[in-house]
Each structure stands twice: as C-alpha cells, then as structure tokens.
Symmetry: C2
Subunit: 332 residues, 2 copies
Amino acid sequence: MISREVQLKQRPAGMPSADDFTIVETEVADPQDNEVQVVNVCMSVDPYMRGRMVDRKSYTPPFRLGETLTGGAIGQVAASRAAGIREGDYVQSNFGWREAFTAPADQISPLGKLAAPASAYLGALGMPGMTAYVGLLEVGALADGETVFVSGAAGAVGSIVGQIARLRDCHVIGSAGSAEKIAWLRDELKFDAVFDYHGADILAQLRKSAPDGIDVYFDNVGGDHLEAALFHMRPFGRIALCGAISQYNATEPVPGPVNLTLAIGLGLTLRGFIVNHFNHLAEKFRSDMEGWINSGQIQHRETVFNGIERAPEAFIGLFTGENIGKMIVALD
Amino acid sequence: MISREVQLKQRPAGMPSADDFTIVETEVADPQDNEVQVVNVCMSVDPYMRGRMVDRKSYTPPFRLGETLTGGAIGQVAASRAAGIREGDYVQSNFGWREAFTAPADQISPLGKLAAPASAYLGALGMPGMTAYVGLLEVGALADGETVFVSGAAGAVGSIVGQIARLRDCHVIGSAGSAEKIAWLRDELKFDAVFDYHGADILAQLRKSAPDGIDVYFDNVGGDHLEAALFHMRPFGRIALCGAISQYNATEPVPGPVNLTLAIGLGLTLRGFIVNHFNHLAEKFRSDMEGWINSGQIQHRETVFNGIERAPEAFIGLFTGENIGKMIVALD
C-alpha cells in the first residue's frame, strides 16, 4: 500500500507558504504482531502545529525537516494483528499528514461506537472540543450565569467554548474575523453579542456588549485581544490562556499586555493550559459532548479540504481565517 | 491637640519628590460619643501608595490634593468615649501620615496584647507580613520543598516570603538591590541563593541558582524580573503577582513580558492579589506569625525615619532602595 505524506521542506519564516511543504510517497509495511495497518479517513490541521515548525524547545519537540509531519487523524483499520482491534474499526491517532500507516496497537486509540461522523472526533468530540471543555470549565472555573468573552469564536475551539457557556446560562460575547462567521455565531449558535475584530476598537466593543465587565476570558488570540480583555475584567475574573494565534507567525518577540498589573488589584487569574494536562477528564468529556451533540444542544461545523495534497493549504488557511468551525482535510 | 499631617501638593510625575508633599497643622477635636482620640506611634509608607497618587480608577480611589494622606498607622489611645477601648490601648488604623486624630471607634482596630514592638504590626505582623503569607501560601499554593524565587527580597514583603518558604523546606532564591541587602538575606535570613539585580542577567542568575527551574515566583517587581522568571518556570508553576515596583513611576505604558505564551504549554498560573482579598485569614496569620517571631524562626528588620516631616523622604526611599526590611516612620 502506498501512502502520500506531507513533510516540512523548510521552516516557515512568518506566514507559512506552500513552498515550505512537500508531498512524498511511502510504502506502508504490512502489520507485524501487535501492529495495525490504518487508512486515514481524515486528518486535522491545528494552530498549535505552527509552534512545532520552529526549531526551539517547547512542550512538544519541533518537527524535523524531511520527516513526515504528525497530528491528529481518524482512520479505519485495514489489517490488524493486534488483539481486540478488527478490520473496519475506527481509530484515532497522531499519525496525521499521511494517507495510511502501520503502527503498534498501543500507539492508536480505538474509538468504539461513533456517535457522530468520524471527522467530529477531530473537532467537537476531539482535541479542540475537549480543549474548549476543560479550558472553560476547569481552567476558567466557569460559574453559571457569568459573562464570558471568547476570541477566535468561530474556530474549532471558540465555537464550542461559546456554546458550552450558553448551556450554562452565561452571557457570551465572541469575536471573529468575517461577516459570515459573525452571522453564524449570532444566528445559529445564539451568542449574545459578536463583533468583527478587523479594524474594531476591541475594548469599546467589550464595554458595549458587557457593560458590567467580563468574568471569564477564553483567549485563543493573544495580543490586542488579551490587552483589551484585561482592561475589562471583573474582580476575581479568570483568563484561560489557550492560544495566541495573532502571534504564531511573528518574526520578532511580541510584547505582552501593558496592563498585566491590573491583575493585582482585581485578583485576576491568568492560567495557561493544553488539553493533555486534563487527560483524566477524557471520558467525562466524551460522554457529555456526545450527549450535547445528539440532543442538538451543541452544533459543530467543519470547513473541509479534500485530499492530502491540500493539507498545507488547509493549514495555512487557519492563519488567514479560511475556516468556520473545525478545519478538516478529508482523505477518503 | 495639634497634629502635623502630610498632604499631597501635586501629583508626582515619575519619581516622587519632596516638592510633591506639604506638611500642615490641624487641631485634633476632642472625642465625642463612640469616638477615640489616638496619638500615632508610627506610620507606614508602602509602595502601593504610589498608585493612589495617580488620578485614575483603581482598586482604591486616588488620594486627593490638599487632603491629608492615609495609610497604615499604629497609635495609642489618648482619650476614649467608646466602650471597651481604654486610654493607652494600642490601635491600628488607616489614619497614617499624621501625628494624631480623632475617629469613630469602628474605624480603628484595637490590637490587644502586643507580642512584639508596636511597629512590627505595620511590618511582619501587619499588612506586608500578611501579604507575604497569603501570597505565598494561598495564591502561590506553595508545597513543601519547592523552589521559590522572590524579587524585592530584602523588602518588607519579600523578606517574609523567603523566610516562610525556608520554614517549608523550600529552596529559596532572592533578588535585591545592594550588597548590604544581599549579605543580610544570605547570612541572616539563610536564603539559599541571592543576587544583586543591578546590571545582572536575571535569567542567567536563575539558571545558576535553580538549575531545575522555579515552582513559585513571588513578584514584587514586574518588568524584567517577571519576564526572566517566566523563562525559567517549571511545569504547573505559579506566579503570585503582588507588585511591580519597577513600573510604579513609569510615565509611559510599560509593555508586558514577551513570553507570556509560555504559560500555555507549561500550564502556568499567574494570579494577582491584594491582602484584603484574604481578610478571612487575618486571625490565623497573626497567630502563626506571632509564633514564628517569638520562636525566632522569622526575623523582622526595619529601616526607621524619625518624625512626620521625614515621611515623604521615607516614602521616596522605597523607590530608591533605602529600606532594608520594613520602612517605618516613627512618630513618638
């Protein structure tokens, strides 16, 4: 079996471009004892991957040039020599950016019975959904009825954050980057207030949408969004530091907010996290989220690019705002 | 009775100067029913007061020009018409920056039996000591044996932070601003490592003193100290944001740390606080701290200026590093 795979040809300088990637073909080995061969159905591109393209120490080691990239993927087992895993089973793995692979069974996670289309397990039911869930409820320590601001609100994480907050009777404000996104958040997801951040005075928008201030800010963007939110937090507010997509392509150090000292008098908490810090909540998350999706309480939307050759384009699109909801590369 | 009092003549621009203050004389009224007349024994000058000299919204309203300043003071009751308060009793109040005053009994706090000299209740046993206590133990969520970095380590707060951490078997690193301070921290307070931040590469000092990183950073300074600490935090480290004395006299907005996004992958918590957020711990604090002081486990040191007319000089000295331990203005 042949797998087409995406490798990093050179490290992006600033905004990534198609030239930074290359497609190679690899022969996928037959599985040996305790191995499975998997054909990927879809793969994920996520903003965090930009960090791994830089050659520096971080919480995950950098991608290497000339090796196939990795990331979340959902596949179906094509051949199995591992106990309990059968042909046709859906499995989750970190062997994305490729069409197929063979790996030890302990490096993949059988998904069991699916409650939604497979790709949802890369989105609302996968890493981004769980990021929203733990970031809002655990890191943000959300209480019912609070005022929540989420940036990047039309993204894979942000759109789930806002909807969970709505389920908790919160007043939800979101920022996003296009009229289509704004309309979706307002009309379909029923956010209480939304604004397009392009050219906006973010602080003025927050003052208008949340006159009494913000209890929880879920930060996907960093930069001017974080600074504006800090200016408008209520006493004892919490800021969940999830991402800083506005800064991921910066080529110079980006100064932090000028108003971090406001945290002192207001007793604010800023807490960073990644989803892996909360693996102990994975089962509860899946159960809650499958319930919310099946009851229609949470909607999930995808922007789909078809074919492994379009994976770089899909990835770059994360930084130019191409996606509404989860960005998916379909491989079947 | 005549009280000499300090008023703000004009709002300081940048570093405060003696010209910003003026001394006035006021007649202190005799106490009426439920009032007490108090002669102050000593008064406090604290860095937070700089913030109140700026005309802006903050957690305490700004000082007004042409009114007597306020702040912590310890006095003795000279005359009382309030039940349960007798002549000679020591009381704590916010009627500092003056030699004497008359006030309703509910605006002063009787200190009861003193376990240390009265001025200690403005320092180790007062607001700065309790700031250290709640900031390290509650906000910093200190665990025994962790590695703690405290900036402004020779100050009223920092010197107590380091000593409490030592009592908890922690590895304690402190920064301070003079050879005399460094010697005191190293030789008397038994900090594990200390460095003079003047001209120092703070990050290099931290790497040397705490090769495995920092669990808790108690931030009194902000600016380059905070940025360096962020670069050297261990996973799930906590930063207690207590003060930012390096920025209090800034006349332009000061950018925040360039590396705040490190908090994401490391799961760091930055939490601001002021001591009033923890008033429910006041009794436990006093009991613990009196025990530590009486047993000699915690030392407290003061830098004393004598006379109300020197209060502005003492206050300015906070920003030029004149104090070792608590800065006190003695009034008796």
